[in-house]
């Protein structure tokens, strides 16, 4: 108790220096917290699950995957043909329709990229939407019902809605970007829950299929070039690794999928494959940026403690004269750094959590399919840990140097 009191008093001795050191910690801890939040989210997304797996079926040899929609029904059944064959617990198909509000000038703000899917699958298969809290699920369920009943419906994320300057209930026309000459009219029927899908859009796949079916009537009987390539992905939910392997084998051995052939992989390995493009960026964040910030933090603390120790060598010698042992003085100096680091780090991480998750609605960092990242609950102790670790590393050398303070050197003025 007395030691803590002395530590606090010593920190209050030079409020500007202590304050600036704390400020340095409070600025750098959020940066590390944000980086680690993104990395931990990506790690979680690419981590292989043991149960409740999602299998992704896509075209084997071509990127982007473009399969005929005739694959959809049988793939959604896991290519089961015999009564004993295994079927997935759930499934959904993915098609992607990109369109612009302006047929002539295409900008980021006037363009939309919509998932074309079976509306009810939004609630059962989509990451995070399949595990909404009850009240949000009920609200979003009503929006999904509107999309199911209105084939021309469109669900938008809040940010995308703001970017195109429209409101729920407005009607828009999207001029096809990837589906040339297919222009679709939509009614905005609602929005996604705030979060991961803030920049996304979802439409009823039946509307896209109907437009593709109608295409030949206005184009001299010719099919649209993407008519047999409009199924981009199929997701299958399987209970465990064994079921995943069985269904994967059923699909691989099926004679239905030869032109083009298809492959099955887990969602996590699919994400990993997609993240390959960002490999260097992620590596740099993990192994260069975050460590560099931590080293900087340790150096800031080291500098402050080193100055403090140099200023107080006489006081430390006096304490030794009074009977304090070298280790007690070392602990006193180390304690100052640890207290400063722990308190500043903890305050900083809590403030970052509240600010980012509650006030800012997440960190906008578009990478792969992920647009927004949130600070995980675990991050609440990261600041404390970062503060303690960097304080310890930064102060151990100057604190250790106090052991060598020699009282006879300090009092050799008289002769």
């Amino acid at each position: 108790m007395h030691t803590i009191r002395l530590i606090v008093k010593n920190l209050r001795r030079n409020p500007i220096r202590s304050g600036l050191t704390a400020l340095g910690i409070m600025i750098l801890v959020p940066v590390v917290t944000l980086i680690w939040s993104i990395l931990s989210f990506l790690d979680a997304a690419t981590e292989e699950k043991a149960s409740n797996l999602k299998a992704i079926v896509s075209e084997r040899w071509t990127l982007p995957s473009q399969m005929p929609y005739s694959y959809a029904t049988s793939l959604s059944e896991g290519a089961s043909r015999e009564p004993d064959d295994l079927r997935p617990e759930d499934s959904m198909t993915w098609s992607f329709f990109g369109g612009s509000l302006d047929p002539k000038t295409r900008t980021f703000d006037n363009s939309l990229f919509a998932f074309a899917l079976q509306p009810q699958k939004l609630l059962t298969m989509m990451d995070e939407l399949d595990s909404l809290p009850a009240d949000q699920k009920e609200r979003f369920g009503k929006v999904v019902d509107k999309l199911a009943s209105n084939r021309q419906g469109l669900i938008l994320g809040e940010d995308r809605l703001a970017a195109i300057d429209r409101r729920v209930g407005d009607r828009i026309t999207l001029y096809g970007l990837n589906y040339k000459d297919i222009n679709l009219e939509f009614e905005i029927v609602g929005t996604f829950p705030v979060g991961r899908y803030d920049n996304s859009a979802a439409m009823n796949v039946e509307y896209l299929l109907a437009a593709l079916d109608a295409y030949p009537t206005s184009h001299s009987g010719k099919k649209h070039p993407l008519a047999d390539k409009c199924l981009n992905l199929v997701w299958l939910r399987v209970p465990d690794r064994s079921a995943y392997e069985t269904i994967g084998r059923q699909i691989a051995e099926s004679p239905l999928y030869t032109s083009p052939s298809v492959k099955v992989e887990t969602a996590s390995s699919g994400v990993s494959t997609f993240l390959q493009a960002y490999r260097d960026l992620i590596w740099g964040m993990r192994w260069l940026l975050a460590p560099a910030i931590l080293v900087t933090l340790a150096m800031v603390i080291s500098n402050a403690i080193r100055i403090s120790v140099r200023e107080r060598r006489t006081e430390m010698a006096v304490m030794k004269v009074l009977g304090y042992r070298p280790n007690q003085i070392l602990l006193l100096v180390l304690g100052e750094a640890l207290l400063l680091g722990a308190v500043s780090g903890a305050i900083s991480s809590i403030a970052t959590y509240v600010l980012v998750n509650n006030a800012m609605g997440g960190v906008k960092f578009p990478i792969a399919f992920f647009g927004v990242f949130f600070i995980p609950n675990d991050a609440l102790w990261w600041g404390l840990a970062i503060g303690l670790a960097t304080s310890f590393l930064g102060s151990i050398v100057p604190a250790w140097s106090t052991r060598s303070v020699r009282v006879v050197d300090v009092f050799s003025k008289v002769g």
Binding site: L6, K9, M319, L322, G323, R325, V408, S412
Partner: protein, 246 residues
């Protein structure tokens, strides 16, 4: 005091400080400087001893050896029956807390602590209850006449008052020996007199043995005995022109 069996027993007539043939040298670059050359000294209990000598004569070195801040290269030092010269750093630290009180020229109070907390500092190393500590601190502050200033920090006290706090800190553990290194060197004449009066009072009333290093003849006159050092040895006919009259 029996010095031969390594388990000394102190009685009232034994010297409280016994220095036998103490040698101490320091390295200055490649050169070896002999500061003390075989010095021997006895200080009886309750004596107020002044040590004088020109700069570099070895006064502070001798004080450091007696107070357990340094160890001799050769020779033996006993204080209150304990063989100080044979202790390691940790033993010396614990021994100093209980047996020696230090009074410094520049007070050396911790500026972030109040007068009370500065005086309490050595007691925190002893197994005492908070109440016992408080009583001892208040007794020490009462002895130096500073009970009205317990909550003041050093920066809020005059030089004389700071030195009184320093003296209270020195006596709070009730040590057998007080060592003072130029205790009036940083004070005006009036405050210096008050501090010397206080030290004399501690010597006569509490029977504290005091060894004081000083350049000040007036301060030395308050002592029972004055020893003069020159080039590491005690001299009987010192050059008095080296000293100030105060």
């Amino acid at each position: 005091m029996n010095l031969d069996d390594g388990n000394p027993i102190v009685n009232a007539h034994d010297p409280i400080v016994l220095v036998r043939n103490a040698h101490r040298s320091f390295r200055r670059g490649n050169e070896r400087v002999d500061v003390l050359g075989g010095l021997s000294l006895e200080v009886p209990p309750g004596e107020f001893l002044a040590l004088m000598g020109p700069s570099g004569s070895g006064k502070t070195t001798l004080l450091n050896l007696i107070a357990g801040l340094d160890r001799p290269d050769q020779g033996e030092i006993f204080v209150a029956g304990d063989k100080v010269s044979g202790m390691n750093e940790t033993q010396l630290a614990a021994w100093r807390t209980r047996h020696v009180g230090f009074i410094f020229q520049f007070y050396h109070l911790l500026p972030v602590l109040t007068a009370f907390e500065n005086v309490e500092l050595p007691l925190l190393l002893l197994p005492l209850s908070a109440r016992a500590r408080r009583e001892q601190v208040m007794t020490a502050l009462d002895l130096v006449g500073l009970t009205e200033r317990v909550r003041h920090r050093p920066g809020q006290l005059s030089g004389g008052q700071q030195q009184r706090v320093g003296i209270a800190r020195a006596i709070v553990t009730d040590p057998s020996l007080l060592v003072a290194d130029e205790p009036t060197g940083d004070l005006d004449a009036k405050s210096a007199t008050e501090i010397l009066d206080l030290m004399a009072e501690l010597n006569t009333s509490l029977h504290k043995t005091i060894i004081m290093v000083t350049h000040d003849l007036r301060a030395a006159r308050r002592a029972h005995r004055t020893l003069h050092l020159d080039k590491g040895v005690l001299v009987t006919e010192p050059d008095m022109s080296l000293y100030e009259a105060g």
